[in-house]
């Protein structure tokens, strides 16, 4: 009864450094190369688009850093989790976003990235690049670009423009 069917192998065994972090009791990893800096919560400025964009309600703060404005995403909100107690901020590289997380653990290497099973059909397909197995635990590898997608950046620009227009008017 046991059929030996070929399973799609995990993607190439090139080692990737990742940072382990937690949000609302769940563990995640993010590519170390996607993170520019890990820091505390000092310097955050409250930010809200009010009812202009409910879609961007996950943006809670901004952070000014070296002349760049980073939009701060609440990871618990992003992953539809119960509100958590963030204490660390991951400033992302190449996109103007930073991510509030409860804690960061350690940097480690993964040698295989397993595809997210096809059984998962909802938003998580965008949230994750895949899954990693770390010490027997299955941990999602986040897609850092999903924290503030290109569409969301566009919506943000439009909403800010409307907000500035309304203020000027």
């Amino acid at each position: 009864m046991r059929h030996k069917r070929p399973q799609p192998p995990p993607s190439p065994a090139s080692r990737e450094d990742v940072i382990l972090f937690s949000v609302s009791g769940f563990k995640f990893v993010i590519a170390a190369g996607a993170v520019h800096e890990i820091r505390g919560l000092q310097g955050l400025q409250p930010f809200s688009l009010g009812c202009i964009s409910v879609q961007l309600a996950k943006l809670k703060y901004t952070l000014e850093r070296s002349g760049t404005t980073y939009f701060v995403v609440d990871a618990a909100f992003h992953f539809r989790l119960t509100p958590s107690h963030p204490s660390r901020l991951l400033i992302l590289r190449n996109i103007p976003a930073a991510v509030l997380v409860d804690s960061t653990d350690r940097m480690m290497g993964i040698s295989a990235l397993h595809g997210l099973p096809q059984a998962f059909t909802h938003e998580e397909r965008g949230w994750y690049r895949g899954l990693a197995v770390m010490d027997g635990d299955v941990v999602p590898v986040v897609n850092h670009n999903a924290f503030l997608s290109k569409t969301e950046q566009e919506t943000l620009r439009e909403s800010l423009g409307r907000l500035q227009g309304a203020t000027a008017g």
Binding site: M1, R2, H3, R5, Q7, F26, K27, F28, F79, R80, L81, H114, P117, Q118, A119, F120, T121, H122, E123, E124, W127, L131, V133, G136, D137, V138, V139, P140
Partner: protein, 144 residues
């Protein structure tokens, strides 16, 4: 010796009821294992199992087959289910150990109002068992 028209089924229990799936759809009968979870929004998936290095999604169909009162599911039937872009191992939680049986009679047709994932009825011993098409059931569950 196996008769030409004999067909094998895996029988799995869900509470007081037992169901049948064609044996060729079943990959493995697994003992209790640690269900691992991570945030997601797919209601039909309750988590994943790590089985011999493979990550296997767990689809709990008990509430569809026997209602919300199904007792705790401790074992897993791992089936090779059809997904949009190919087959994928899927773990179905069941309440007890599964059995393999061979039947030489043709299954009866299901009741006219039976859901489409019930493809037939097997007469075994004094009772009857519904035959479940897991692909259809899981696809329906995934669509909500």
């Amino acid at each position: 010796m196996r008769a030409e028209h004999e067909k094998s089924y895996v029988l799995f229990p869900l509470g007081e009821e037992r169901f049948a799936v064609p044996a060729e759809a079943v990959t493995e009968l697994a003992r209790p294992d640690q269900l691992q979870t991570f945030p997601h929004c797919t209601p039909s998936v309750s988590g994943v199992l790590l089985r011999r290095g493979k990550i296997v999604p767990v689809c709990d169909v008990a509430s569809v087959l026997v209602g919300p009162e199904a007792p705790a599911r401790k074992f897993y039937l791992i089936a090779n289910c059809q997904r949009e872009s190919g087959k994928e191992w899927t773990a179905i939680p069941v309440t007890g150990e599964c059995e393999l049986t061979s039947v030489s009679t043709e299954p009866e047709k299901p009741a006219p109002r039976a859901p489409s994932y019930i493809t037939g009825v097997l007469a075994i011993g004094d009772g009857t068992l519904k035959i479940v098409d897991l692909d259809k059931l899981i696809t329906m569950e995934a669509r909500g």
